[in-house]
């Protein structure tokens, strides 16, 4: 087989946050496979055929991409942010493991991207500057009690949190329950950030605290950051968002 499959992360949206490695791979691809709104962000990638699919058909999309590569095409599977963080890379390897044995001999490469958590943290200052965890609030593929247990473990251990997939049409109540679980363990003053569509024209950032955090502040495109008791805020005055940062010894207690 001479085909090639690359699984790329576009970064959060702004093209200046996309790596040259990914841009080169997109330019060399004959076929782009991904969720429609992500493919729309790719301006160049000129002659490539675009195979758009619904956001939830990850395994089908992965198999389709592998089939194209097995036919000799140069395929790029496109994720937002980083392809390895709650995105397409896992789905592709799941498809390889359980699919046509020939797929294991394909030339497959994952190319990292700026994940939403890193872009959001940079915008706010350095709120992930010490130990933290990265959790998906989706219970599509794991039971909700597992999600809750991980949130509770992270809060008890003094970890900052980057929470992906906070809400969707099919999962309307989970974020509220997650915030309630955190309120039972952490002071209401712990900072919470709702960052939506970071680095894109419709970007919206809400900085609040755990006492006032409300699920209505999130939609499907939102990343939620939760600080710790050690997170510091630096006022900047005149209507500017304060800086947030985790001191280098954060959570030493």
């Amino acid at each position: 087989m001479t085909g090639r499959l690359v699984i790329v992360g576009l970064g959060p949206g702004d093209p200046s946050l996309r790596t040259p490695q990914v841009s080169a791979a997109l330019a060399a691809a004959t076929d782009l496979v991904g969720y429609g709104p992500y493919l729309q962000r790719i301006e160049g990638a000129l002659g490539a055929i675009r195979h758009t699919s619904d956001n939830r058909q990850e395994l089908d999309r992965a198999r389709h991409a592998l089939s194209l590569a097995a036919e000799g095409r140069r395929v790029a599977v496109v994720s937002s942010g980083d392809a390895g963080v709650f995105a397409m890379a896992s789905a592709v390897f799941e498809a390889i493991e359980h699919g046509d044995p020939a797929w294991r001999r394909l030339d497959v490469a994952v190319m990292p991207g700026i994940s939403a958590m890193l872009a959001v943290a940079a915008r706010l200052g350095a709120p992930l500057g010490h130990d933290f965890c990265v959790l998906s609030l989706s219970d599509n593929l794991k039971p909700w009690p597992v999600v809750l247990r991980r949130l509770q473990a992270a809060a008890a251990a003094g970890l900052g949190m980057a929470l992906y997939n906070p809400v969707s049409a099919a999962r309307p109540w989970q974020l509220g329950e997650a915030l309630d679980a955190l309120r039972a363990l952490l002071p209401g003053t712990v900072p919470v950030v709702f960052a939506t569509a970071i680095s894109r024209p419709e970007e919206r950032i809400v900085l609040t605290d755990l006492a006032d955090a409300s699920p209505e502040q999130a939609d499907m495109r939102t990343l939620v950051l939760v600080g710790t008791e050690a997170t510091r805020s630096i006022a900047r005055g005149e209507g500017r968002t304060p800086w947030l940062y985790a001191p280098r010894g954060a959570g030493a207690a």
Copy 2:
């Protein structure tokens, strides 16, 4: 004040993993501030003055950079990987909070980079494809029992782990004790990756498991990834490193 301070992440090493945003900021800087080996990775950045410092003088380096910006210089503080993940961004904000009040009015921006954990995960497949945590094993700024407690909490909660700062000349025994603590809680078959100098010419990747993981496999430049019981390995034959990935529902149990 007309100076500007940007805190940038260079990515793990290979220039193709550096964002255009960071490259542009480096090209516009009058002064580059950072640990010597990181500054040496910047080829262009032509006329800029390079202020190199020792790896451990983070706060001094931050204050120096802020002073330069306050004088009107365009300063770039340089980190490897992402500036917000166990790197310079926290130190700069710590210096701002406790320093000259005028520093709060400076134009300061953090520019994200490809963190080592994302680059290493991409090289291996998608081992961070589900819930995980990001911990520093350094006890320079937090007590060792806090580090151990966080490792234990992460293991008990079924989280993958990206472990930064595993070892240094001044911290020779911590990684061994951390691995022992994990062996007490997780099966010996859990995959462990020692990834050193990822994407640089001297890159070295050791894929092993918890039973066989040994601290000698790490040095100062190593990131350690620890999987979970759910992490899958896909053999590729003929001397090639197997793919590792976390199924999308990883740790559902």
